[in-house]
Symmetry: none
Subunit: 212 residues, 4 copies
DNA sequence: CATGAATGAGCATTCATTCAT
DNA sequence: TATGAATGAATGCTCATTCAT
């Protein structure tokens, strides 16, 4: 479940690959913390341990770094949903999706905040991608769920709102991390808390969907 | 349910009050759209129909506008939760809270995004407020819920995670508005869609909490 | 024959007018010496005795200063040609044009170099203006000359090449000032030299055009 | 009439020579189009099909390329004037000079613009060369002309102004190429237009100098 | 010879804030 | 109160040049 999988096989030296990686890693850190406008190339180049012009030798502009980052992460961000198997046991498939989602939230909170930042501000930079990819995927998966409901295998609810609530409840732990910590004293990076959270969400969606 | 509650009773002329109000209204618009760093005083003063120096006559700095805005809105933002009545019918009380929350999300999406922006970025400007007010309120209400659970009036779940999931699922429709619109073609400002959403969430939390 | 005549009557304070003037004067100096790319806002703001941001408070960008400058000067730059009177004595009219041209070259050498710089580099910023205004004017005047030739009042030559050679021979003293000084030890800012130059050019075009 | 004449006979491999040539050719293109400050090493190295560091292996700096270019071209640039033969027929000699000048303007317009750019901006990089070579040559040739005038073989005019006007009228077609094209729709690279221009200039200087 | 990688200095422009009136 | 004028401190980005191989 790599979040930065391999890309277009271009002729690149080892240093190039390494530096691009360093930059994207640094940029993820900075952008997810401060948003696009709130982040400066200085911060990123500092975090990447490299001079500003050198950073711009690898990426044309701040914008370009941001776009590359979003594009590369989007794929993996959608992975958990792709695995939803129409042939599997309906409730178990959905619960597994919830579990993978909460695991990703734990393991990649910066990625979650990166997208949250972007979308809250109207997704000015990735609307096109959202429009195409996400919509298509979500439509497909919603249809699978509808079929399951038609077959009486899970309770009938609006599948799109169901997906929204899975996204919202899981990503909340990454996006609103500060608030969660203020209330709980810890967050899902703590194993105990992770288990409690997972249990709560499993229960939430089981209650909603399980046919008695 | 005013979102800009009563101010400290200071000696202020009518014009002063009116201008402060104009500024805060403009700032809400701009900040909720672009975040703190992404917003400029120029944008705000333009939106407020007022010169930059005049705006800074009313508020010492950009920071000050932002803080004032957050402080004034926080109060009303927490109102729905305050109304949770320990004497009322447990399930109905919680569902009413969910209803008030989704109504607020519909009526004040900019306020929701303002807070979301702030919290995602680590709440650098309002952590202290969150630490005090919210925590206290949430602790109180969580205890009420626990009592209800102890009395067997609703199913037992972690009350704080319950509150998180209510926040997350409702605010999602404001904070991720773009995405919701991309998927549904509309959002809860459309009456039909509002009803569907409300029904889905009522069902979600009823399923979770109702004792059969 | 002001080169910076009065412009669009806008609501501007005295300071505004004065500063715009100071900036344009400074910019003329700098741009005519170094070309557009070779000039920096720092140089201009320094020459105008004002801070860089303040300069940009009056003109949006370096580009904008340059364009304003060219636009305002173009008008007066074409004045001498406009005065060519179809009713006047043909040879005398043309000689008067030559005289006015060489006077302008003496009095406004920076303006001449500003245009020369721009046109040598392909006129990237004022091609449209050239295409319209100059062409129209030149066409008109060429027709007048042709009529004079048809009437046998001056010798027949290609009127457009005639105009080119008037432009070239007069402006040369501004545009190639360094070279002229290297050869003559002085240039037309010296009254003696001015008279000699004028006499040479009068002779040149009289020889070409006069019917014996 | 090579414009890049013979070089100081140094020990250089064939590749070296070829690369220097490629660089100078590319630099001529770029410098004549954008001026010194407006040209970047990137542009030149790109045009030369060679990496930036490699280019700087052949020439120490951007400055060095420019200087080399000017020095090498100057020689050939002056060639037409050198051929002015004191023993020839005066008028014919001068007309031949005009013809060679206009031919050079047609064949080497970039070279003309390179010098024009440099001189308009005060010749900061080649003043010394101008001071020496050109002056000497021009002085010599002016004396020849004066002698012809003393002998009554051509009309008496100021020989230096005469040379200026030959330079100005011929080079105009290269330096102000854009303007010429805007007015005529074509320039002297078109054979017809070349003939017309040559005829006009021959007539201009014949009228001026011919003893009836 | 040749090039990928790296950088200090510079440059146009933005922005929060202050000054003067 | 209100605003035109002014600026120091960024900020994104460019460019000549150098380093290492």
């Amino acid at each position: 479940m790599s979040l930065t999988g391999s890309e277009k096989p271009q002729r690149k030296t080892r240093i190039q690959r390494a530096n691009e990686q360093k930059i994207l890693e640094a940029a993820l850190d900075v952008f997810s913390r401060n948003g696009f406008r709130g982040s400066t190339i200085d911060q990123i180049s500092e975090a990447a341990g490299m001079s500003k012009p050198n950073l711009l030798y690898y990426f044309k502009s701040k914008q370009a770094i941001h776009e590359t980052l979003l594009a590369r992460l989007l794929e993996s961000w959608l992975d958990p949903m792709k695995e939803l198997d129409p042939e599997g046991d309906p409730l178990e498939e959905i619960l597994n999706y919830v579990r993978r989602k909460i695991e990703m939230t734990r393991d990649f909170p910066r990625e979650s905040r990166l997208f949250a930042n972007e979308i809250i501000q109207g997704a000015p930079r990735i609307k096109p991608i959202l429009e195409g990819e996400i919509n298509a995927l979500l439509e497909t998966k919603a249809k699978i769920m509808t079929k399951w409901m038609d077959e009486g295998k899970i309770k009938r609810v609006d599948p799109k709102h169901l997906i929204f609530s899975i996204w919202a409840t899981t990503q909340h732990y990454a996006d609103f991390d500060v608030q969660v910590r203020l209330v709980l004293g810890e967050n899902i990076d703590n194993p105990d808390q992770f288990e409690k959270t997972k249990a709560y969400l499993e229960n939430l969606f089981t209650s909603l969907l399980k046919i008695d």
